[in-house]
């Protein structure tokens, strides 16, 4: 290990934080940040380039640079479920995003829970949807917060404590999110997205070359000495947990309220369609980082925590300058995902939990949304400091909670008979069961906790919807006549 490496790594990593701050603050000049649609969905003016990186970099997070190599190093190929679920998840999302865009633009919605409240004609169901969305944002935000803490602690050679690193990064993000909203996230994610792609590919190639010479030698070595890392079963998983994890996570993509905010920010329906159809190409960024984990299996055994394997490997194999850029890219990955999470948490709390039950003006709601970004960021920071789960483990649990929104979302657009009572009871029961099966009896019969919750949720949703009065026809018709919508 190189001595005094932190003298080079820390400036690179901190420089990235400064660049993000400057970019984020600059974005405000072009938007109308006093209006809710200006701040929350960038006045619905984002083009394909920004949308591609906003969505792509938003999905590539700390687990790509830390958790995924860590899983490859400790478990092997089961980590590939990440690339597969992201790809399949956008295929599922494709059937919804046109509707999300149209309904958002037509009725000036800026959040997922706002659309749910409108369709089910119920403030309570909207608020429940918002609570689940916010829980998901906090859960995923903790994953990113832990990532930020690891990176700055490692880059400083332990001089920046874990808690201080997380606090610093979140404080900076809060500044530019409050000032510039989604437009700031679009700008920073575009920069972060390009940086991550270039650095991941470069680091993957150089680390494999350093330890093994070529990919063929690496995988031949694994095949001969540790073949268990090349199959799902031997990696500690089985087909049930693989299939149900991919299923829960793929269906969970459409349930992320953050993606709804992004899609509503698109300047046209064609922009959002084109973005999502080519987006899976960006997931190639994950593969070089997974290969970094493989490269270390035989060459650096016994490294703990396994989430730090990419940083440990880079420090030993790459020139310090490039390692510094890798650290900056890793921090970029964590920040790019986290920004939209804290924006959405504040936004949903203000617009879907507080506003429907009060008589606030649009200006007050906008101010409240900005203000609420701060306490949600603080909650994520405080919980992250306790390091509750491994990065990928935390991610899987969060998807189990969020996917409970799936039946209500499908019902919203595809089933006229879906009622608010069915949606509310199904959501709550599914969430409770999913939490119980995540924490108390993890994944019974080797099936992901989210699937158990989803099964109960769907049964209750359908049965209770049939037993209760149908929703108002005029509201339902608004959701089922979207093909009549014409872009201005």
């Amino acid at each position: 290990m190189k001595e005094n490496y932190w003298v080079v790594l820390l400036p690179f990593t901190l420089a990235y934080v400064v660049i993000a701050l400057i970019l984020g603050l600059s974005a405000a000049k072009r938007g109308t940040m006093k209006k809710l649609e200006g701040w929350a969905v960038a006045s619905r003016r984002l083009g394909v380039f920004v949308m591609f990186f906003l969505t792509g970099a938003g999905a590539i997070s700390a687990y790509t640079f830390l958790g995924a190599p860590g899983w490859a190093y400790s478990k092997g190929v089961p980590v590939l479920y990440v690339t597969i679920y992201l790809t399949l998840g956008y295929f599922v999302a494709y059937f919804f995003l046109g509707r999300v865009y149209k309904i958002g633009k037509k009725f000036h919605h800026v959040t997922q829970a706002g659309v749910i409240r409108h369709r089910y004609d119920s403030k309570v169901v909207g608020a429940i949807g918002a609570v689940i969305g916010i829980l998901g944002c906090i859960g995923y935000g903790i994953t990113q917060g832990m990532g930020c803490g690891y990176i700055l602690n490692f880059a400083s050679g332990g001089r920046i404590p874990f808690w201080a690193g997380i606090t610093l990064v979140f404080a900076v993000m809060c500044i530019y999110i409050v000032v510039s909203g989604l437009r700031a996230i679009g700008w920073t994610n575009s920069f972060q997205g390009i940086l991550m792609a270039v650095v991941a590919v470069l680091a993957g190639i150089l680390i494999v070359k350093h330890y093994w010479g070529s990919l063929g030698t690496l995988f031949t070595g694994l095949q001969n000495e540790a073949p268990q890392f090349l199959t799902i079963r031997a990696g500690g998983w089985n087909y049930r947990i693989w299939t149900t994890s991919v299923l829960v996570s793929s269906l969970g993509i459409i349930c992320w309220p953050t993606f709804w905010v992004m899609w509503m920010g698109s300047k046209s329906i064609n922009a959002v369609r084109r973005t999502v159809s080519i987006l899976p190409l960006y997931w190639f960024v994950i593969l070089p980082m997974i290969v970094v984990g493989y490269a270390a299996i035989l060459k650096l055994p016994g490294i703990t925590p396994t989430d730090s394997i990419a940083m440990e490997t880079a420090l030993r194999a790459l020139p310090l300058g490039l390692t510094g850029v890798l650290f900056a890219a890793t921090l970029a990955a964590a920040m790019s995902s986290c920004e939209i999470l804290i924006l959405n948490a504040g936004l949903q709390c203000a617009t879907d939990i507080v506003a429907p039950f009060s008589k606030l003006s649009e200006t007050k709601i906008t101010q409240l949304s900005k203000l609420l970004v701060l306490p949600f960021a603080a909650i994520i920071v405080v919980v992250s400091v306790t390091k509750p789960e491994s990065l990928v483990g935390m991610l899987l649990m969060t998807y189990g909670w969020l996917v409970q929104l799936f039946p209500a979302i499908v019902g919203m657009f595809f089933w006229k008979r879906a009622t608010k009572q069915g949606a509310a009871i199904g959501l709550l029961a599914g969430l409770v069961l999913s939490i119980l099966f995540s924490r108390l009896w993890p994944n019974p019969l080797g099936i992901h906790a989210g699937i158990w919750g989803l099964a109960l949720n769907v049964v209750l949703f359908v049965v209770i919807s049939f037993l209760t009065s149908p929703p108002p026809k005029e509201v339902v018709d608004q959701y089922f006549n979207l093909h009549e919508y014409q872009e201005e």
Binding site: V77, I84, Y90, Y94, F96, P227, L230, T231, R273, V276
Partner: protein, 70 residues
Amino acid sequence: MSVKKRKPASVFGVIAMIAMFVLFCWPGILLFDRPGPLFLGLPPMLWGTYLCVVLCVILMSILVKLGVEK
């Protein structure tokens, strides 16, 4: 695009999506879940992952042309 033209496109989209799930979850994943043989230096699971990405992009690009989500 008329509603009549959209319907077959929607059917194609849903069938394609289900086929992708079958291929990359159980039972299709059995095709890739083996330690070898290596092809161009990469194990079957990595090739399976690349295949998943490429197939999804191709299928979704077809859906964009057909305007299926309207």
